[in-house]
Symmetry: C2
DNA sequence: CCGTATCCCCTTAGATACTG
DNA sequence: CAGTATCTAAGGGGATACGG
């Protein structure tokens, strides 16, 4: 098991300086990535595949609520970006295994940072929403 | 200047175990957060405000391409979630200052982790897309 | 200056049915 | 089993104009 550490400068100006400049470019990497994984199912699929290979139907059942059409589109997009691999076995009935690539696995860490932040702060957000909505 | 470190277990199983369980809940924190900052402008606004307070028109000009209606909606949503504060000064002409709250500032780190991943891997993604599209 | 009000488009996604 | 086809609905986002 490997432990990876993300070190982030929290100084506001430092972050700002690091971040500025290309942000207004529509092709800036951050915007592209947010655009891609910001949809409804991509992150969910990635985190489910973090457990290991899954077949189409297994994914459809474990990622609850997704329809086959949308799941297919999500998987194709992830495959196109090189985050997910798709292996078809010439059998009857057909078998298709989906798995994270190395690139896909490298996203788990950053997503987990976001997940940790979300879990730590979701109650604060919820309380803020209540306060806002009554007013 | 403070330095904050994010330590993430990269072992696939460990991450998976940590992540599973509530993911299928539509109200799971991670899904809620992705839903909120996954739109087109929120992350951009947050990172611009990381530099410091900005007025409405300043934001509109620095976040290029956003229309006033959409910017307003984005800011209202961020304010509702407690990530951004809105201060109105009773002056003529009116002055409204937007700034990150403590909660909002605490998001900069995680977003910066994502930004770093994006910049490190965007070329790999682009190459993957080309390979996929010719085939 | 700081927004609202309209109108329109387009994408995303859900429901349902069907096929190699 | 692993998808595709078709239809529809919802809303996010853009353009433009106007108001306190």
């Amino acid at each position: 098991m490997s432990l990876k550490t993300y070190s982030v400068l929290m100084d506001t100006n430092a972050v700002a300086v690091a971040v500025r400049g290309d942000l207004d470019d529509p092709d800036c990497p951050t915007r592209q990535v947010i655009d891609r994984i910001g949809d409804k199912w991509s992150v969910l699929v990635i985190l489910h595949l973090a457990r290991g290979e899954l077949r189409f139907t297994e994914l459809r059942e474990s990622v609850r609520g997704v329809t086959p059409k949308v799941l297919t589109r999500t998987l194709r997009a992830l495959e196109r970006d090189g985050l997910v691999s798709r292996r078809v076995y010439a059998e009857v009935p057909p078998r298709v295994e989906y798995a994270l690539t190395d690139l896909g696995r490298s996203l788990i860490g950053p997503l987990d940072v976001l997940r940790a932040w979300a879990e730590e702060n979701i109650t604060a957000i919820a309380r803020s929403r209540e306060r806002y909505d009554v007013a």
